[in-house]
Symmetry: C2
Subunit: 371 residues, 2 copies
């Protein structure tokens, strides 16, 4: 199957990060090369790289870019520690909602502060940081596979599914979160039809999901966001599956604006609503989704399309990038560790707070479907 | 208050129809002059004039255009009858869903066949047809006022309302259907905040509703369709009000694609969902909304924006122009005759099948709120 890579690292610790510029898809498959931390910040901010897991990976490589050249130039490990902190602080201001960003940056901070000793050289620290970024990237690839495999069981009886925004290969280091089960089924010779909400205002569904599914040979039908209810009523989809940018301890899900509406429509039509996300998307420090910071973006994303203005200048605009779907509307959350179902604080904490190896022992009921 | 006119007739029976070209709004307020029936058909098809009531009025004037010049040229009344039939048949192929189109064309047909006698001249018949078209136009203006007055009572306690597509002055011969109550309240000094769904794919909410509300001095906030649920959750709207293209005897409502979703979201948030439409929008020959023909439009409306392609060419597209909201999701239907509430076949037929004058006698309960 032909899946695109959202990003890749080229070279050693003073190498460069190459991103597929997602603002140019589907018409052009241009890459964008980042050689310093500022260009990574810009790429995240401008959505050249987007999707919670991919943002985390890009930010980790961003920290590597911050230390690569100073280390090669002979800067000490102690001094690099300060540079890591500065770079992580800076990158964490790029976007506020996806928690994977902060999670990945914390891993980079921890490596730097834990592994540095008086005898560590700057070059050694810089190599350790690249190793950690590569590990985050590799783990994400495996997580996608595992999510694909758990999710494929949930979607096995579906003829069609609906998805919102893009939680595919383009949003991760691997085969995606929400789209991974679809690819897994495709590889088993079980083709699903996918209905992709175009996802206004930036059309990630129309531009990205449709492109990567079509490239992988999956039949995809693009609809405007306001057509999802009609598609459900027509009986063309037996499940909805989406990604997530942050999930709280009780299972409230922040995801691309419009996800909450799709969840309500799915409930009305008695269609299961699944969220697929790696454990790094959970923020167990928050209970309620109302406490998740929601990024507000520029009105211009709504008021114009390319060069064409579509909203009169006297009108106001509301443009939140995300919304929160309460746990009670989520049928199950598919993680790399297994499936959380039903979704509530007990089931979330059970799956996430116990080391994976102890899971079966702690809760034998999880052993069947979940692991 | 500054309300635009969607269309006006200039001159006598061999005059011309001038339309505000709504495909060019909000950036340009160009008019489009129709001098024959083909140009009216094109204007309806291309949505230069749109909105169920306005389509009916335009089609009536289209019939006048078909007979004006032949009559002036001395063609007999008998021959004009055939021209009327042909023109009405042709205009009825312009768009399939809005029933006001067929209703208005039938009125024109009836005038021609009932009023023509052996002594009627072609010029007389042509003048009678212009009179009927003007009557349809004037009645629509009054219907809008009456809907505004009935609806204002329903919305009196709202601070904010949400609307979908455009059912305002631009969609009618007067102050609109769904927007009429908002204008009525504005004239009483009671300002509502209006949230306008942009209404993909053709953005009638962003381009038309936002423009006419802002022009009239009403505060309007444009949102993407997928943000409506978030606006409801935030508590910013206390009602939803939309227009209709066809309403069946049991109160199922065909309206712009996305209306059904908004109705489900309103129900979930316990927000009343109102439909405002003149009695000419009802099709009592149909019981279920599933029997309403739904216009499918070109994929290109979804796949590109102006010159810019946004969907990869390998993807399929589904683009219905309308959907059907079942009566059980409709809190009330506001007509020029009064308010239908609750919405079911008995209440619909009670209000619509009895001559207005007999209504209070037939159903004293209707006398308070409804008339």
């Amino acid at each position: 199957m032909n899946l695109p890579s959202a990003l890749l690292w080229e070279g050693t610790a003073d190498g460069q990060l190459v991103l597929l510029d997602q603002t140019r898809l589907p018409l052009a498959t241009d890459t964008r090369t980042c050689r310093d931390v500022h260009s990574v910040w810009e790429a995240i901010r401008q959505l050249a790289v987007r999707g919670a897991p991919a943002i985390g990976i890009a930010a980790a490589y961003g920290v590597v870019l911050a230390v690569g050249k100073p280390a090669a130039a002979g800067v000490s490990a102690g001094e690099l520690l300060r540079i890591v902190e500065e770079a992580a602080d800076f990158l964490s201001t790029s976007r506020p909602t996806a928690v994977n960003l902060f999670w990945a940056l914390n891993r980079m901070r921890n490596v730097a502060s834990k592994l540095v000793t008086t005898s560590t050289s700057g070059v050694q620290l810089s190599e350790m940081l690249l190793e950690e970024a590569r590990r985050i990237h590799d783990e994400d690839r495996r997580m996608c596979q595992q999510i694909g495999s758990h999710g494929a069981r949930l979607l096995a009886d579906c003829r069609g599914v609906l998805t919102h925004c893009n939680a595919g290969a383009l949003a991760t280091g691997g085969a995606g979160t929400a789209l991974a089960p679809i690819y897994a089924l495709q590889e088993m010779g079980r083709s699903l039809k996918v209905y992709a909400d175009e996802t206004r205002p930036l059309l990630q569904g129309a531009r990205l999901t449709a492109w990567e599914l079509a490239t992988a040979g999956v039949e995809v039908t693009v609809i405007c966001d306001n057509m999802a209810a009609d598609v459900m009523r027509a009986g063309w989809v037996q499940a909805v599956i989406v990604g997530a940018d942050r999930i709280t301890a009780r299972g409230d899900v922040a995801n691309k604006i419009g996800t909450y509406a799709v969840a309500i429509l799915a409930r009305y039509h008695n269609i299961p609503f699944y969220v697929a996300a790696p454990s790094s998307t959970f923020d167990l420090s928050l209970i309620s989704g109302q406490d998740i910071p929601i990024e507000q973006r520029a009105a211009q994303e709504v008021t114009s399309f390319g060069a064409q203005q579509t909203v009169p200048s006297q009108a106001l605009v509301y443009n939140p990038a995300f919304d929160v779907t309460p746990a009670e509307l989520v049928s199950a959350i598919i993680t790399e560790r297994g499936v959380i179902e039903p979704v509530c604080e007990v089931t979330v904490r059970t799956l996430l707070e116990i080391p994976a190896a102890s899971l079966i022992a702690a809760n034998p009921k999880l052993s069947g479907r979940q692991l």
